[in-house]
Each structure stands twice: as structure tokens, then as C-alpha cells.
Symmetry: C2
Subunit: 230 residues, 2 copies
DNA sequence: GATAGTTTCATACAACTGTTTGAATTGCAA
DNA sequence: TTGCAATTCAAACAGTTGTATGAAACTATC
């Protein structure tokens, strides 16, 4: 049907414009001009501007989640239902990093859109992100199987830091390049994934002897001098 | 002068409203109503809405940077010009985390404003953040003194990850609480600072022998240009 | 080929936005 | 007091925004 053509033309134009110029700078009139459709078509096909944005974001983040779970499932199968912790973290961060970083991905509209969504965070997107909890719980469950005996809180912190590093790298990749004057290679995605994973693994297994014992926190020598607040 | 009263009433009202409802939802009319001043006063005293936001953000972030540098200076003095790496990272992340987390800070308008600025990121704030590079270079310089022989790229990555973990913790503190069902205590700021610092130290010193020895790693003679700035 | 349902279109709407204007008011100095 | 500048004020401005409307054009079914 010609209705589908209009619908997808709007989606494509919106994603491209939002990716390039951000949510704050793009109006429905910009989108319909880019898509060569009538202004009313947006409300006809999507109901409202927010629902259009939501559909864009849901589509992309469902794809990412699917990738993550595929990789997790594969790792758990290979480990007999118990994947090594680095494989779990790899499954968590690799799809996002791979999707948003790298030299060729510069031209990927979808990737640039997701970066923009990570930087700007408008209400419809925030609402969706808040429902992501269930998805993350699956990774917590896998981590629990992989590191039995660990405090749950430790697992949450490890997952939290893994996401922190990968999201912050995506969001600030330009600033890190500028700060490091190009010495941090943001195009070598594999190296970045490895780096994020290995730091996350260290965070999760710090102070833990190879044997399983109770969690003894803070493996770092407390050599700091002034501990009092400012 | 009564002009100062108007000016600061606007600043206070704007910070409170932005902190509570976000930049997207607050108009100049909301602000002047809250401040009990005339609408035109904003443009009279600040020139434009963006300049008002910029002034709010600059004030708060200058204060944070000052705190950071004070703590860094203290640590370097105590170490004879060479602070231990964990003290440097502590100086970097502690002021921000301490300012934005913790039980009592719930009521701090300034802290809530900075969290909001981290989540929403409007153009005037982004412009200011991009000038933060010089400030971060001072920490890179301190890290270079603390870990001589380390590749610069490693230092940049370490600093980047430290900021990633602290910013992401601030920005996502509600989601982490919800995900962990309260098992991650976001009120124990000291523990969080320690955690972020210790993971950052691990990231920076991984694969490096604990003993203090000359940089036996780099086979390449250090022909790299040494930083001159700062 | 008439009909019913879907999709497109031009246009209007209603509300809200940041900013400007020019006259009133205030505060202070001479 | 007078005069002058700084400040406040109500009002309007000029533009943009997302959304709604009702007629027109299309499409597929009978």
C-alpha cells in the first residue's frame, strides 16, 4: 500500500534529521519536507510527534537487545548454562559499542540516532528506557550463575559500571578524541570492547581469590592521605 | 541595589524550577512567576534565556572545578609534588559525587540542577562543557607524574572511565536503585567514591607490576612530544 | 462502475515561545 | 528639588509549534 511508503518515508526522514540535528532543532515540518509528505501524515500515521520518536527508538533498541540476548544465549550454551563472566559482559556492551562506534558507522543513520538519543534524552525516550529494567535483569541472572557466591549488590555495581563505560564512551567520543589529541583510537571498536569488558571484570572480581570465598571488598591499598571531606 | 535582588531572585527561581521540572518544561514565564518579577527582567539582566542557563551552569561547575583542584593540590603537596594515583582520582570524582549524591543532598537545589544538566544537556550547557578540556588536562598532568612511564593513552582512558562511572552513577541513580531493588546504597557516598576510585585505579594499573620499577614496557623510545601546557 | 474505506492534502487553529518596546517608576547625585 | 540614569512594568510582537479539520484523491471490493 502507498500508506506504508508514507509511513516509512517519515520514519527514515525523522531518524536522519534527528540524528544529524538533534531532537530540539527538528520540527515536524522539517521532517515532512524531508520526506516529501504532507504535514498531517505524521499525526495520521503515528498519532503524535512523541509516538513517532518512541517508535524510532523502540525499533532500534529492540534490535540491540535482541543482539545482546543472542550473544548471551550463545555464550551460556557453550559454557553449559554457565557463561564466563567476560563473555556475559561482552554480550552486554558489544552490540551497543559496535553499533555506535567505528569508522564505517559514521555514516549509519541508526547509530547516529542512538547516539543522539543517548545525549539528548527527550521524554518519550526516557519513558522507554525506564522499561529496560527487565532486560537487564536477564544479565544479572546470568552473572549470578557465573559468579555464585557474589553479593547481588556487587553484580549490580559491575553491570552498572559496564554500562557506564560503554555509554559514556559513545556519548563523549568526540571529547575523548579531542582531550587525548587522537591518542585514544575511537575507531578500534574491538579494543574498546575488550577494554570495557576487562575493567568490568576487574570491578567484579576484585579482592576475590580464585577460590570462592565471601566477598571481601576493597582490594585497593588505602594509600590515600586525606580522607576527610572538603 | 534592588537590581541585585531581582537578578538573584531570577537565578534562584530558575535553578529551582529547572532542577525540579527540567529545561524542556520550564518557560521564562514560569521563572518570573516563581521569582515575582517582571517578564522583561530576564532579558534586561541576562540578555537571553540561554545566557541565564549558562550563568547558572557556569557558577556551579566553577565551584566543582575549584573543589577538585583544591583537593588535587593538597594531595600533590602531601606527596611532594607527586600524588598517589588514587588520591588524584579521588580529587577528580569526589566533589561531583559528593555534591549530587547522598541523603541530605536530595534537598539541595544546586545538586538537583547539576543532575538535571547532566541528564538533559541543552545547547548552552553543552557549549560550556566543551571548554572543560583544559581543566581535565591538569588531572592528566598529575596522573602522568604519578604513573611515569604509562602510555598517555592509558591515562586518558583511565580518566575517561572514572568520569564515566561517576557521571553515570549520578545520572542513573534512580534506575540503579530500582534495578537493584535497593541493594545498591546510593546514599553511602563515601563507599561509592571508594568504589569508583578503586575500579579506576585497577583500570590504570592493570598488567603493571606492583613494584615501582622503570617503565620496562615501552620498547619504543619516548619520542612522543611532551605536554607543555598547564 | 458505484461504493465504502483509506489515505492525502491545504489550511486553519490555538496556544505558547523568547524577545522587544516605550512609558512609568525608582534611586541617587548635584 | 531637580535631573539623570537605572530599573521595572504592562503590553504587544513576531514567530513557531504540534494538532485538528474537512474536503479531495485514491484504492479495492462488490
Amino acid at each position: 500500500m502507498s500508506s506504508d511508503r508514507t509511513r516509512s518515508a517519515i520514519l527514515a526522514a525523522a531518524e536522519r534529521l534527528y540524528a544529524d540535528r538533534g531532537f530540539g532543532d527538528v520540527t515536524l515540518r522539517d521532517i515532512v519536507a524531508e520526506a516529501n509528505v504532507n504535514l498531517a501524515a505524521v499525526n495520521y500515521h503515528f498519532g503524535s510527534k512523541d509516538e513517532l520518536i518512541a517508535e524510532l527508538f523502540v525499533t532500534r533498541s529492540l534490535a540491540t537487545n535482541r543482539e545482546r540476548l543472542n550473544e548471551l544465549k550463545l555464550a551460556e550454551e557453550q559454557g553449559g548454562g554457565r557463561a564466563p563472566i567476560d563473555a556475559i559482559l561482552h554480550a552486554l556492551v558489544s552490540p551497543t559499542l559496535r553499533g555506535c562506534l567505528g569508522p564505517d558507522r559514521e555514516g549509519s543513520t541508526a547509530a547516529r540516532f542512538m547516539i543522539r538519543a543517548s545525549i539528548e534524552s527527550v521524554p518519550p525516550i526516557r519513558r522507554i528506557k525506564n522499561r529496560e529494567v527487565d532486560h537487564l535483569r536477564k544479565f544479572i541472572a546470568a552473572m549470578r550463575r557465573s559468579l555464585p557466591g557474589r553479593d547481588d549488590a556487587e553484580l549490580y555495581w559491575g553491570l552498572h559500571f559496564a554500562l557506564a563505560m560503554s555509554h559514556h564512551t559513545i556519548r563523549e567520543k568526540e571529547r575523548l578524541t579531542k582531550l587525548s589529541e587522537g591518542q585514544c583510537d575511537l575507531n578500534d571498536v574491538d579494543a574498546i570492547v575488550d577494554r570495557v569488558v576487562s575493567v568490568s571484570v576487574m570491578a567484579l572480581t576484585a579482592g576475590e581469590a580464585p577460590a570462592k570465598k565471601a566477598p571481601a571488598r576493597s582490594a585497593i591499598p588505602q594509600g590515600r592521605l586525606t580522607r576527610q571531606d572538603l
